[in-house]
């Protein structure tokens, strides 16, 4: 593998973009509104270009990534603060890679979708809060610069392989998001931003304590202390220590995810944020929590993870059903989407703690798919809201008739929200459920009830906004503009492609999940009555058959060989570790 620092470069490009944007002439420079508009356009174009370059770089990384290779690839380790064993250490496994890709795909989409949001804020704020001079410093410039800074941190948080570095990114991400909500949001934005910040800080502090403690334990026995993940994961910790440290990390991640009952900041924050910021918040920042669980909570503290599994499973199932029921009752479209996310995040944590390969691969894939699906839903809802200037579902009706493209895409995104087969979320949701079922049947059964509730909250929302007689207020609503269509079309395309052909993503994810399961000492349950190996690979007789129907066995003799060779060919492309897994099956 080349020594070119791909990850660092990919992470640095948005930061450079942010600096470039910061260097453009500011608002203080005098000029006519036309000049100002030209300056804003330059800023937006810069943001778009830099986010696209970042996307291209991460695609290169994904192409060069070898699923069968070592767990962490594109690794770079430099000493940062040698006195404390802090490193600048980055590298990706399959899980981190797909999440980085998801983030960098979302970023240009969000930039495009947010094109006019900042002006709208300025206009909306004057009418909403007259007399308040809240518009100070609110320019397209800083909004898009912050977005790019956030992108650097998103790449950093997924790529970090040093726990301290991870913590730094984890906390630093709060700052741009805080301002994006607090300064550029709508409604009760400052309340929402502070709530988001306080919650996150609380979790962050708990994690900080656990991080430091980890370091302390790594110095035991006269060793040089370290924060490197690969070394910490071999640390021998007593079960009690593991439990405390697990909780330190877990609570931070549970707040971030958010897992019930730590979820109440999310609906406020997502409702108050601009659609673009809401996409990054729910699509990416939430995933940092679940990513943290699967990377840090399981690998670093395996016995504690098993100890707390029943609790997490219960919280997840409660979250799935509770989030869905509360979503049904929402009157605000953005709050509704936020609560569906609470439900879906419950499914993700359920999949992670089911500790099966299907559960965890499904959960990881779900993180990606949820980013795209909920992202598309937030963006399209945002387009609609920007036209009618209302979040309330009751203010809409009959939009399908006047804006069929908007309604059609909204329906597809909504159907992805209810995990319709053919769309990407189905694959991940079913993997989570089936992976959970093999170990916790009751939890899986209850979680499956969530798919009925999902149909209700999505379709009822669609019914109230899009169908029925056209309301007078929406009668002149324009359909999607070209820019808006371009923003959301890639997401819809990805939702469909990954729904029909999820294998490329699963091929990247599977080995990493396998490593995680090895790390947490968990194996998939063996089915009590396994289908014969031949039968499982389809197209041959069952054992019962060969005895009773000899005529049918003879002509089949060619069939199994070709299938088997096909299967072997496929397996040959996969990693050694996976082959081991396959044969143990």
């Amino acid at each position: 593998m080349s020594t070119f620092p791909w990850l660092t470069v990919a992470g640095a490009v948005p930061l450079i973009g942010a600096i470039a944007i910061a260097l453009t002439p500011g608002r203080s420079a005098a000029g006519s509104p036309a000049d100002r508009r030209a300056r804003d356009l330059l800023v937006k174009r810069l943001a778009l270009v830099f986010s696209l370059i970042t996307l291209a770089l991460t695609i290169v990384i994904a192409v060069k990534f070898r699923p069968g290779g070592p767990r962490f690839q594109f690794q770079q380790v430099y000493q940062w603060i040698p006195q404390f064993g802090v490193h600048y250490a980055v590298g990706v496994d399959g899980i981190a890679l797909v999440l980085i890709l998801m983030s960098t795909v979302l970023m240009p989409v969000v930039v495009l979708a947010s094109w006019n949001d900042v002006e709208e804020v300025a206009a909306g704020a004057t009418s909403a809060a007259p007399g308040k001079r809240a518009r100070r410093g609110r320019s397209a410039k800083s909004y898009f610069a912050m977005m790019l800074v956030l992108e650097t941190m998103m790449i950093g948080v997924f790529a970090a392989t040093d726990v301290f570095l991870f913590y730094v990114f984890f906390e630093a991400m709060l700052v741009p998001m805080y301002f994006m909500i607090g300064s550029y949001g709508v409604g009760q934005r400052q309340y929402a931003a502070v709530k988001f910040l306080l919650y996150s800080l609380l979790g962050g502090l708990l994690m900080l304590v656990a991080v430091i403690a980890l370091y302390v334990y790594s110095t035991h026995g006269g060793h040089q202390g370290t924060f490197l993940f690969t070394q910490l994961s071999h640390l021998a910790l007593s079960p009690t220590t593991q439990k405390w440290l697990f909780l330190g990390f877990f609570v931070a991640f549970a707040i971030k995810a958010p897992l019930w009952p730590f979820h109440t900041w999310l609906p406020d924050a997502a409702t108050s944020a601009q659609p673009g910021a809401a996409v990054l918040l729910v699509g990416v920042l939430d995933k940092v929590g679940t990513f943290g669980m699967i990377r840090y909570c399981l690998d670093l503290f395996p016995s504690a993870a098993h100890f707390f599994t029943p609790l997490v499973i219960v919280l997840s199932v409660v979250g799935i059903l509770y989030g869905a029921v509360v979503a049904i009752g929402q009157a605000d479209i953005k709050r509704l989407i936020a609560y569906t996310s609470v439900s879906h995040m419950g499914l993700i944590t359920l999949g992670i703690f089911a500790m099966t390969s299907q559960g965890q691969a499904g959960a990881t894939l779900y993180m990606v798919n949820h980013g795209f699906a909920t992202g598309a839903l937030f963006i399209l809802a945002g387009f609609m809201v920007s036209r009618r200037k209302s979040h309330l579902i009751a203010d809409y009706g009959g939009v399908q008739k006047v804006a069929p493209v908007l309604a059609g895409l909204f329906l597809v995104a909504g159907l992805a929200g209810l995990a319709l087969p053919g769309l990407s979320t189905f694959v991940s949701e079913f993997l989570v459920l089936v992976g959970t079922f093999t170990r916790y049947e009751a939890a899986a059964v209850l979680a499956t009830a969530g798919i009925i509730l999902a149909a209700i909250y999505i379709l009822w929302m669609y019914q109230r906004t899009m169908t029925g007689p056209v309301r007078a207020e929406v009668a002149n609503m324009p359909d999607l503009k070209a820019r808006e269509l371009w923003a959301v079309a890639p997401l819809i395309a990805l939702i469909v492609v990954l729904g029909v052909y999820p294998k490329p993503a699963l091929d990247i994810i599977n080995p990493a999940v396998h490593s995680t399961l090895v790390g947490v000492h968990s194996r998939d349950p063996v089915p009590p009555h396994p289908a014969s190996a031949q039968a499982r690979q389809a197209s041959t007789t069952s054992t019962a058959a060969s005895s009773t129907a000899p005529t049918s066995t003879a002509p089949t003799s060619t069939a199994p060989t070709s299938t088997t060779s096909l299967v072997q060919h496929r397996r040959g492309q996969r990693s050694q570790t996976l082959r081991k897994q396959g044969s143990s099956a």
């Binding site: 159907l415 079913f430 993997l431 089936v434 002509p555």
Partner: protein
């Protein structure tokens, strides 16, 4: 008796090996590709395709039908034991043991459905060209119809349960789109959502069945599951069977998930024809018959299937008798006829063949009935109240003729379809023996009479007697594009039963896949004759009530039983009382709890730390400082700890 039946038949059913599809069959993906391409072209093409979209929409199912016939001919060329062919297009999901191919299975069972779906489906598409000619959204309509056909084909062609489930939900989506096609009407939007949600309840059952299969057998392919099922405990197999039944109840509108079907009439009539005759409601029966190797192992689950079927066939028939809306009456009829199929499927190998025979014959006569009813509705300016019809025989003679053929077929006058397909079901139900056999058989027998009653009533109220329509209406024969499909289907209605049953054609074709009945009955049996007598008596009763007497233009006051039947036997009321109202309360309570309970608690705790909630709100003015301060504190803590550790 059942024990010996399954001992004899289970290995046989599982014995059919699947070979690789070759020749024409190797391109079986085309069956999905044609209608899917149609849907994509029409839905993404937008207004550009408005002028010629419907032609693409018709061409695609016709092409699929042509391909299906070719594949069928190729299949007939193989020896009976080698007719099951599989084809893997690509690997769909690969996680650990969960290996799911995107695989198709062409065997006698699936090809029957392919021909029904594409054949009857094509005729319905052609009819719709005329029926929807004035609708500005005709192109979108054909896009959805093609999607429907594609999803249904995926359902019947899948070689594993997960892919079947994908088609299953795809059918749910297509029906949602089509029932709500006129979505500017609130009633249509509500009906569409109701159909989807009721189906989702069934879908949850099916998905749990798949999970249980994977948990037990480590496989979700038909070959894998059927091979391993005999090793599993009776409890497991029964559980799988009952979960599959729940799925079937949703799609096939069987009790207790039946209520969506009556509202589904909100869609344009060709949709009703497609849902009721060629696709969707037959899916549940397909699922049970396809899963024969599982149901053969579990008499308990089979009995549950049979009871659901028997109850639904009476339930639907009674509703059919009470409705004045011709489409709703037909919907009740569908429920009832599908009930027959479900009952037959629940009888195990004794009934599978007849379930499929009834299903295929029903595809013809129900399609005919809906198309002719659609023509009537079309000509009567969207009037559907049969009390405002009457005497249409003169105005629409060909339509009446087609309807009459289907009428003869559905009530089972020999030698027409249902006589051959329904009587064996009654016979097989009685032959099951015991109390359950007697009860099931009696239900099926009474159902035959009820069928005759509501169908005769419909025939008389619509086509005979005095005109009860307004002066402004001028019904005349529908255009050829709508008439010809009905004529062809009517011919099929008359002949289907005889073709399938005489000479045991369907039995010898399907037998290798789903087993054959242990004993064969004659054509005229004592139960068959009893059924025939009942049918004729019921027709006579209907004539006395609706033919001889004048039909009042408004529904007369009625006894409580009739009132109940008019209200769908309180199916909706029960759902509303048991599910919707409590659900609404739960939702409201949860929202309240979330705002006041969880969030309130958090705010209170935060306020306690901050002194008061007023202070908390003030925090926001100094938030930058407080954040900076907390970061500083954190940093000091961190460095301090480092120093401590180093020391």
């Amino acid at each position: 008796m059942t024990g010996s039946v399954h001992a004899a038949l289970v290995p046989h059913a599982a014995a059919i090996a699947s070979l690789h599809a070759t020749g024409i069959q190797a391109a079986a993906g085309l069956l999905l590709a044609f209608p899917l391409a149609g849907a994509v072209i029409l839905l993404l093409g937008g207004k550009r395709t408005n002028s010629w979209g419907h032609l693409v929409g018709v061409a695609m199912p016709v092409l699929a039908f042509a391909y299906g016939v070719a594949a069928f001919v190729q299949m007939l060329g193989y020896p009976a034991a080698q007719r099951s062919r599989e084809l893997t297009l690509y690997q769909f999901i690969n996680v650990g043991r969960f290996q799911v191919p995107f695989g198709l299975r062409l065997d006698p069972l699936s090809i029957c459905f392919v021909l029904l779906i594409t054949g009857v489906g094509s005729l319905i598409h052609i009819f719709a060209v005329g029926y929807m000619s004035h609708d500005p959204d005709r192109r979108r309509f054909f896009g959805y119809m093609n999607l429907f056909v594609a999803a249904m084909l995926l359902l019947v062609l899948a070689d594993n349960y997960l892919l079947l489930y994908a088609g299953w939900e795809g059918v749910g989506l297509a029906s949602y789109l089509l029932i709500g096609f006129w979505q500017y009407k609130d009633s249509a939007a509500v009906a569409a959502k109701k159909a989807f949600v009721a189906n989702r309840v069934g879908d949850a059952g099916l998905s749990l069945a798949i999970m249980l299969m994977f948990f037990q057998f480590g496989s979700v392919t038909f070959t894998g599951v059927f091979g391993a099922a005999p090793k599993a405990s009776n409890g497991v197999v029964t559980a799988i069977g009952l979960l599959l039944l729940l799925g079937a109840c949703g799609k096939s509108a069987q009790l207790p998930l039946q209520s969506w079907l009556l509202d589904a009439m909100e869609g344009p009539t060709p949709v009703s024809a497609l849902i009721h005759a060629a696709t969707m409601v037959t899916a549940g029966v397909y699922l049970i018959v396809r899963s024969a190797p599982i149901f053969n192992l579990t008499p308990d689950a089979r009995l549950a299937v049979a009871i659901v079927g028997a109850a639904t066939l009476l339930f639907g028939g009674i509703i059919g008798c009470a409705k004045d809306d011709i489409k709703k009456s037909l919907a009740g009829s569908t429920m009832s006829q599908i009930g027959y199929m479900t009952l037959a499927a629940g009888l195990g190998p004794a009934g599978y063949i007849f379930a499929i025979a009834q299903l295929l014959a029903h595809g013809f006569f129900k399609a005919t009935l809906f198309l002719t009813a659609g023509s009537v509705k079309h000509e009567m300016n969207d009037e559907v109240d049969m009390r405002r019809f009457g005497g249409l025989r003169v105005a629409m003679p060909i339509t009446f003729g087609a309807f009459f053929c289907a009428y003869l077929a559905i009530i089972g006058i020999p030698p027409f379809s249902a006589f051959f397909t329904k009587d064996p079901i009654i016979e097989a139900a009685f032959s099951k023996g015991g109390v359950s056999g007697a009860l099931l058989g009696t239900a099926a027998l009474i159902g035959a009479g009820i069928t005759s009653l509501y169908m005769t009533r419909m025939l008389l109220m619509t086509f005979t007697g005095r005109r009860r329509w307004d002066e402004g209406q001028h019904p005349h024969e529908a255009p050829p594009v709508m008439i010809w499909p009905a004529i062809l289907l009517a011919a099929g209605s008359l002949a289907a039963g005889a073709i399938f049953i005489l000479g045991s054609r369907l039995q010898s074709f399907l037998g290798p896949v789903i087993g054959v009945p242990p004993v064969s009955h004659g054509i005229f049996t004592v139960y068959g004759l009893a059924g025939l007598a009942l049918v004729i008596a019921a027709a006579g009763l209907a004539w006395v009530l609706y033919g001889r007497r004048e039909v009042p233009a408004a529904a007369p006051a009625a006894n409580p039983f009739t009132v109940a039947a008019r209200k769908d036997l309180y199916g909706d009321a029960i759902n509303e009382g048991l599910l919707m109202r409590p659900g609404q309360w739960l939702t409201r309570l949860s929202v309240y709890f979330d705002n006041r309970g969880v969030d309130g608690l958090v705010n209170t705790v935060a306020a306690a730390f901050g002194g008061s909630s007023g202070r908390l709100r003030k925090v926001q003015t100094g938030f930058v400082r407080s954040y900076a301060l907390s970061m500083l504190v954190g940093a000091v803590l961190l460095v301090g700890t480092f120093l401590l550790v180093r020391l």
